[in-house]
Point group: C3
Chain length 174, copies 3
């Protein structure tokens, strides 16, 4: 199976996004690079990261990069398939590091389009609940929505995961 340059796998928490994205990557038959954006700030997160790594097995090359995704993507060789998991933690890391989001989003899109190998981005839908109570919550929700829209606009293929199943938002599953 051949994937287009940019695939977006969007979904709620525990919707099967990562499994869905991994399934797409595996079907390409190409060597796989997993770009992990998670940072283990506490035990709960460390446990999640360890669990994901175990589930993935060791047929993946893993790169941990919490912030500089663009540089990471530009350094990847051709002939591979790349899974970025996930843009939500990346955004959270950017905000904690007080980076300029508009600049970072532009850099990301540009690197996603230039990457020598096709890239699958996993991201969370976070805007379908009530308005968050805190300004930071609203800021995060809005930035995540803008990032998802931005990646969605440039994606060749986009799927929305719901309870392990998917709805095609754009393009056609190969």
């Amino acid at each position: 199976m051949t994937l287009p340059q940019l695939t977006l796998v969007l979904g709620g928490a525990k919707s099967g996004k990562t499994s869905g994205a991994e399934g797409l990557a595996i079907k390409t038959g190409l060597p796989k690079t997993y770009v992990a954006t998670a940072q283990a700030f506490d035990e709960e997160m460390a446990a999640r990261i360890a669990l994901h790594r175990t589930e993935r097995g060791d047929s993946w090359e893993t790169i941990e990069e919490p912030l500089d995704l663009a540089a990471t993507l530009r350094a990847i060789a051709s002939g591979r398939v790349v899974l970025v998991d996930c843009l939500t933690l990346w955004l959270s890391n950017l905000m904690a590091a007080e980076r300029d989001l508009e600049y970072e989003f532009d850099q990301l899109i540009s690197a996603l389009r230039d990457c020598a190998s096709p890239v699958i981005c996993v991201s969370n839908e976070v805007g379908m609940g009530l308005v968050p109570e805190t300004p930071l919550g609203r800021e995060f929700r809005d930035a995540q929505g803008e990032l998802n829209q931005f990646v969605g606009m440039y994606a060749d293929l986009a799927i929305f995961m719901v309870a392990s199943m998917h709805v095609v938002l754009k393009g056609k599953l190969p």
Copy 2:
């Protein structure tokens, strides 16, 4: 492009609902009326309103009406296309003004069906998170869901926006 009488554009926060709805309105080629339900209670909201107005440009006639949507819709001439943005802020205004929601919803549906020009309503999906912690939160979430269902039942065309992309829920995009 011809739109049917009632179109619903539903989606989460920052999903591209307004842009999607504006795109539909523009494609009709008809003179456009924008019915804004937002009220600037604080600076954050004032900034959002101003940003939306700038993005929209001045090819739109704008009517600001936080509460009496039905009367506003009945006063609109034929030969135009109307965008109501959005039902979520309208609901929030109704609840703050302690209006009778059942009565207001009935009045709205009736005016949407009678409006001399086709109407596109933008509304938020707010019920896909955890149960809100406060009774007011649960009341708002439930009322929004009921309003969305009500408009959905009478809509000729309904789309669900996700990350700037859409899923057709009802009817067929012209």
Copy 3:
């Protein structure tokens, strides 16, 4: 209309899940069993339960079972259609009773597949908002997502309700 063995009706709060599921059950023309998982802990919940019962009318056999769904499903005769409403309250009851979720989920899936009559399960999507603030909130959201994925994997038919309308996630509406 004939339903397959297992149908999942998923959706946000007040999305029309129960009505959608009831509509499917009614169209089978079979005698109907309603399995209610709700428990009236307070007046707000008691009012919701009473409202649902009134709306449903008395053409339904009702079984109230907050916890032991598997045993309930195994006791149902053939030639009926069963509606379980809903898995979200069941999960909430399991967590309050400190049951082993993995064991209970396995028992449920097994009973859903063995039930002598076709079953429609209603469940909530709760993972499309921001990360919940409390560990319990995150635990519930994750468990609900895992349960929905699990039932989704075994479902023959799955629909996602949005504002009284639906998107087919799996299978084909008869």
